[in-house]
Symmetry: C2
Subunit: 457 residues, 2 copies
Amino acid sequence: MEKPTLPKGTRDFGPLQMARRQFILETIKSVFQKFGFQPLETPAMENLSTLTGKYGEEGDQLLFKILNSGDFLKEVDKTLLEERNTKSITSAICEKGLRYDLTVPFARYVVMNRHEITFPFKRYQIQPVWRADRPQKGRYREFYQCDADAIGTQSLICEAEIILMIREVFNRLGISDYTIKLNHRAILSGLAELCDAREKESSLFVAIDKLDKIGVEKVKEELRSRGFSENSLTVLFDILQAKGTTREKLELLSGQFTGISTGQKGVADVKEVLELLSSFNANEEHVEFDIALARGLSYYTGCIFEVKINKVSIGSVGGGGRYDNLTGVFGLPGVSGVGFSFGVDRLYDALEELKLFPKEAQISTRVLITHFDETCKRFGLGVLNQLREKGIASEIYPDSVKIQKQFEYANKKLTPYVVVIGPDEMKTGVLAFKNMKTGEQRKISLPDIISELTRAI
Amino acid sequence: MEKPTLPKGTRDFGPLQMARRQFILETIKSVFQKFGFQPLETPAMENLSTLTGKYGEEGDQLLFKILNSGDFLKEVDKTLLEERNTKSITSAICEKGLRYDLTVPFARYVVMNRHEITFPFKRYQIQPVWRADRPQKGRYREFYQCDADAIGTQSLICEAEIILMIREVFNRLGISDYTIKLNHRAILSGLAELCDAREKESSLFVAIDKLDKIGVEKVKEELRSRGFSENSLTVLFDILQAKGTTREKLELLSGQFTGISTGQKGVADVKEVLELLSSFNANEEHVEFDIALARGLSYYTGCIFEVKINKVSIGSVGGGGRYDNLTGVFGLPGVSGVGFSFGVDRLYDALEELKLFPKEAQISTRVLITHFDETCKRFGLGVLNQLREKGIASEIYPDSVKIQKQFEYANKKLTPYVVVIGPDEMKTGVLAFKNMKTGEQRKISLPDIISELTRAI
């Protein structure tokens, strides 16, 4: 018999990983809820007509498609089969695909339920997505996304709140060295206009986005090859490389954007977001205005965000921005909003690298009842019942085996306390109670154990 | 542009449904954890070699298969295509399928990780599964399963704990009128032996399983057509229709099973489970020993369970049992265990029918800040920040619109309290605080609001 395996690029999450993932996900979820976002879940499968054409040519290639049920070849044209036209046959034999992200299903949901939804609508969604990407370190074919979006309002309060939410999540996770990069698409458009390159905006954004990775000279080279003049490059890089505080950079831009209304709008929005933060009595800690932040996705139109954890190997753990046409592709124009997405897998890796997972994150019971023999075990059931009645998660070793094996079980499950029941304990009702961390063992009554454990919760 | 739709048999879960589902799932999860079960998650996609052949011919038909990426037809034999041999082509163009239940992936996980797992291993798993079933009322193509299994132990303590867990879940959900049906496969085998029908066991089980639905006469007819003698039917139905307490029924069986060791083993196990309950200081409330309970799945070998909510349209909301060969199909024999699965969708429908969802289950903030104009809104941000700092989930209406529209938003989101900020409030710091349920509005300072709300949590 062949040994079973997992599909490439997928993973099991055992008890330890689950406990750690739940620590991350519960943290994010409770912050989202505290800020008024409500949960949504959509099906894993969507019609391919919903998904295709939304992620570019490459994205379409990466969609997992689901074979139609039953006699799926019945209606397929004979010549199609003979020609082995993969693309046409695919659409003939597959109607559905797996969710590729949470944004398109959200847009679909909004369009289908627009008459029932109360706008502004603030939803969060935490679900897996699937991409037929080549698996490699840190890149999986199934991974979780963690999105929050506020739609149906232009208010920049939402942008300020995204910054506050990120800070609260990181604070609760115990991450202190990180940067929330902030920029605005209109500032980038303003730069393009300043370089006389309005029609080459996207080449400009793509090039700028690589500054971090390939450096100034290579980006300049790329822009030259795209027809940017030396003069415009000088103007551009004077701005991109400007030092100073956020205010100073904004002043510099404002001065440069004379007569460029798009650019001015971007500067004004960023200023407004920072002012709103101060109305929240919040400071600008961790926020860095970064003129070179571009972010790939073309649908952003306003502020854009990216969060990086400093001094770890995988830096970027989230991003987002404002868009002004979420649902246009489904025939409902004018729905604007702003969203942010946490990368759970990367946060997991970063927390592991920084050794920030609380040891207690292992989900386990607090007490294991161990026993010398069948009679003691039976006596232990009554003890167990009393612990559970007080809400104390606890269990009994179910088989009658050597006490050492029972202790091993507690050790491996990281159970903090063990109760030992032998004939003496049954006679006196005074139990042996062991702290597995310190190794200390005491004789103590059950009511005292219960009051100690309920106090410690 | 075509309006987007959902694939047949799938559903979105909006904020209200999500809140209710989370109420159910969190309840089950916390009970599982209290009893020492640890979380596991497996990928949505499994290799088809893992899935096929595990659910019978019909199950294989109901697997959702995923088309291989890239040029999936490249290696497919020409004659296969010409013959349109659906089955062979499927296995040539699909390597993966969607999870059909949680049991097979669990077995696969156990085999792959058997050297790291601490046995007895108690895991719970709450994830969606997919079946290409014909959609109908109450039957979906994507639905959640909620499984707990304890493997690597023969101890009947696990069976007793399943009963305790079910009762705790139902108690927390507020369901009081329900029945936990209990039987044992060996008792059914004993009955078959008693009828001289050892080799017709499965026809007997299938027929008995229908007693509830089609009644005594039709079941007898079916058994006659399978070659059961009148004499054996008399013996059988005298037992199946016996009245009396659980002890009386067990005594009756014990008397009948003279020389039938299988049957005696079943009787002894059921007795032991009930005795263990009493060692737990627990009664037998809601437990009904039902000799006619058969449950379809063939891999059960010991106790079997089924839970029914009485007086609702969809009764059965969960089931399970003991099996002695979970992982044999993957080459690891001798792993026995016992499991139970809650049907979340059916629990949802039942709770709705019984009107048992707590109104507060709607996940929302507790306070909405409303405002007369831009200046008041900005003032409101400081108020909002103080509420959140005290851990109170709250939000501000992000746009400057008529106060009535802001109140409507709070109403629709079921937000219990609204703070109104106008020029007076800004001047005096005394805020208008409205209880949306009673309609009562008071003038009260922010610290007093906070202490009221933190007290009420």
